[in-house]
Amino acid sequence: MKFSRILVEKAILNENATQKILAKLSSCPYEVVNSYLDYFEKVRKPYLHKRTNLYLYLAQKKGELVKEAPNAYGTRGESHFYYYNALNCIYECEYCYLQGYFSSPDIVLFLNHEEILAAIEERATQQPGRIWFHGGEFSDSLALAHLSGELLLFAEFFSKRPRLQWELRTKSANIRPLLSIDPTPNIHVSFSISPPSLARLLEHKAAPVELRLRAARRLIEKNFSVAFHCDPIVAQPHVEEEYRALAKSIAEQIPIEAIRYISLGALRFPQGVYDEVRHNYPKSFLFHQYMIPSQDKKMRYRKYLRRQLLQKVQNAFLSSGFLPEQLYFCMEDDME
C-alpha cells in the first residue's frame, strides 16, 4: 500500500500512535495541518483517484464518535452501534457503498482511541442488555490494523465488559494484530466472503477468499468467535453452484459448529451510491441484472428475484451441513 501524501493534525503529531505510524510509513513524507477537515472532502475527489493518488490523514475524531446502526443490522432484538475509528478503505470493491458516502476516497485514521472507548462506555451505560459495537462500518476493520494499532487497547476494554459485544468486519487476512489477544466470548471477527471467481472480479486488492478462510480458521483455532457475511449476493446464472462450492470449501476447512452465523444479503445500494457505482464501473458485472428503487428507496433486485437468490444460497449452505439457525437474511425485513 502506498500513500501519495500523509497529512497529520498538529495536535496529535507527537502522540505515540502517530509517531509509530509515521515511522512505519517513513518512505512517504508527511505534512502537518491544523485539521483534516480543512482538506478531507473539501473538494470532490473522484473515487478512482484512490488507485494513483491516495492520501492518508492522521487525525482526531470530534463530535459523534459512536452511532446507532440501522434496523435489520446484525442479529435481531439487540442494540447495534458502530464507532468511528477510520474512514475509507485501501481495497476497491466495485459495490462498496463508501464510494457514494464520502466525496473523497482518502483514508482517515482517528487516533484518539481513548476518547472513542469513552464514548462507547457512555453509550453502554445508557442501554441495558447485550449491546453490539461494530468497527468497520466506514472502513475495513483489519486492513490497516497493523498501522492504526488500536486493537490491543480495544480488546482489553471489551474483555472486561462481557455485556458489550465487539465485532470486527473484514475482507482482509490481516489477523496478525489479533493473534496476541486472548479472546473473550464477546470479541467477534466476521469475514465478508463471496465465491472466489466473483471476488476476483469485484473485490480488487482485498485478500483472496481462500486466504480469508484460512485466517478465519486460525482465529477459530485461537478460540475467537467467527462469523461470515455472504453479502452482497449478486445475481448471476450459476449462483447456486458457486455458493455450494463456497459452502463446501468452508465446511472442509472449518468445523461448521464453530461458525457463529452466516448472514446473507442480496446486492443493494442507496440511490446515490448506485449512481456513483454506475459512474465508476459502467461495465461492471453488477449491472447485468435489472434493479429498481424499492420501498426503502434502496436500489434492489425485484423481490421475486431476491427471494430466489437468497433461497438458492441458503440451500447451498444447508445442503453442505450448515444449520438453519446459523443462517440469517441481512437487510431483508420482509423476506422470511
Binding site: 497529512l7 505534512e31 473538494v43 483517484h49 428503487p293 425485484r302
Partner: protein, 335 residues
C-alpha cells in the same frame, strides 16, 4: 440531427493572445461576427481568446458557444499552469488535465470536474496566488494551478460540450513566473501549436457507437441506450453489428416514423435484449393489470414500474373482482 452534422470543428481556447499567436498566424483566421476581437474562425478550427479572469472566461466561452450554436464538436483549452509541487511539476512539458478543482481565497469549492483518466489534477484559483502559504495550501489538493479551467468546465458541462484541457507547465516560483511566461510566449505558442498539430491530441476512442443519424435520442434516451448497449457488449459479448441486427435496426429505419419515434422503438428492443427477465416480468404484470382495466377499473401505473405505489380504484362488485384485485396486488407486492 442536423446540428450534429454541422458540429465538425474544435474550438481552441487560449487565455492570452500571445499564447495563440502562432495559431492565429498559421491558420488563416478571420474574426467572427460581433465577437470579432476574441473569436476567430479558420478552416480547421475556431479560436477563442478567453482572458484569464474566471468571470471573463465564463462569459466569453458562454457567449461563444451560444453564438456558434452547436457548431463546436469539442472545446480544447491550450493554456498555461503553474507547477505547485516540483516533483510533479514537469516544467516545460504539456500535460492533460485530469480533474479540475476550484477555490476562492483559501476556500475550496466542493464540486470538481473529471475530464480525463490520465494527466495531472489542476486547481483553479479565483485570485492570483503569490504567497508561499497559499501555494502550499493548494499543492495539498492538486499539483497544478491555473485561473481559467474551472470556468471552462462549468460552461461546457452546462452546454453538454466535450472539453479537454492541455497545459504547458511553468515553474512554481511565482515571482518569476510572469516574467518567465512573458519572455517565453513565442516559444510556448509554438510548442502548443506543434502539440496540437502533430502529437496532437489523440482522439478519445468512442466506446459506445451511436446509431445512424435518422434515429434520434434525447439526452435521457441516450443514457439508456448507453446502459443497454454496454450490457449487451460486456455480458453477451456482442459486436456493434450484432447488437443492431438483433435489435432490428434496419427494419426500424425503414418504418415511416419520426427520428425520435425510431429511437424509442430501438430502445424498447434493446431493453428486451438487455433485461429479458425484467421484460417478461413487465409483460406479465401489465397483462394482469389489463384484466382489471377490462373489468372497468382505473389503474394508474407508470411504464417503468419504478414507482412506489400503484393506484387502483373501482367498486368491488363481486368475489371474482375481489380475487382479480388481490391477484394484481400480490403481483405488485412482488415488485
Amino acid at each position: 440531427m442536423t446540428s450534429v452534422m454541422e458540429a465538425t470543428k474544435s474550438l481552441l481556447v487560449f487565455s492570452h493572445r500571445q499564447a495563440a499567436q502562432v495559431f492565429l498566424e498559421s491558420l488563416k483566421t478571420e474574426g467572427v461576427g460581433f465577437l470579432n476581437g476574441f473569436l476567430y474562425e479558420s478552416p480547421q478550427a475556431y479560436i477563442l481568446i478567453s482572458g484569464e479572469h474566471p468571470l471573463q472566461v465564463a462569459s466569453r466561452i458562454g457567449l461563444c458557444l451560444g453564438f456558434l450554436n452547436k457548431k463546436v464538436k469539442e472545446v480544447l483549452h491550450l493554456g498555461l499552469a503553474m507547477g505547485l509541487s516540483l516533483e510533479k511539476g514537469g516544467e516545460g512539458t504539456i500535460t492533460e488535465a485530469r480533474t479540475v478543482y476550484g477555490a476562492s481565497g483559501l476556500l475550496f469549492w466542493h464540486k470538481s470536474f473529471t475530464l480525463s483518466e490520465k494527466g495531472y489534477d489542476i486547481i483553479t484559483s479565483g485570485h492570483r496566488v503569490k504567497k508561499k502559504e497559499e501555494i502550499e495550501h493548494f499543492a495539498r489538493i492538486a499539483p497544478l494551478l491555473d485561473r481559467e479551467s474551472y470556468s471552462l468546465c462549468m460552461v461546457c458541462e452546462e452546454t453538454h460540450t466535450p472539453l479537454r484541457i492541455f497545459k504547458y507547465i511553468v515553474s512554481r516560483e511565482s515571482e518569476h513566473a510572469c516574467q518567465e511566461v512573458k519572455s517565453l510566449y513565442q516559444e510556448i505558442s509554438l510548442k502548443l501549436y506543434h502539440f496540437w498539430l502533430y502529437y496532437s491530441i489523440e482522439e478519445k476512442p468512442q466506446e459506445i457507437c451511436q446509431p445512424p443519424g435518422d434515429v434520434y435520442f434525447t439526452t435521457s434516451m441516450a443514457k439508456q441506450y448507453e446502459e443497454y448497449y454496454t450490457i449487451l457488449k460486456e455480458r453477451d459479448n456482442l459486436t456493434q453489428e450484432e447488437i443492431w441486427k438483433k435489435a432490428g435496426l434496419e427494419e426500424i429505419q425503414r418504418q415511416k416514423l419520426s427520428p425520435k419515434q425510431k429511437g424509442k422503438k430501438l430502445l424498447n428492443r434493446l431493453f428486451e435484449l438487455a433485461y429479458p427477465e425484467e421484460y417478461a416480468y413487465r409483460q406479465r404484470f401489465v397483462q394482469n393489470i389489463q384484466s382489471l382495466v377490462d373489468a372497468g377499473w382505473t389503474v394508474d401505473l407508470d411504464n417503468s414500474l419504478r414507482q412506489d405505489a400503484l393506484y387502483i380504484s373501482a367498486r368491488i362488485k363481486d368475489s371474482r373482482e375481489k380475487e382479480r384485485l388481490l391477484e394484481a396486488l400480490r403481483d405488485y407486492h412482488e415488485i
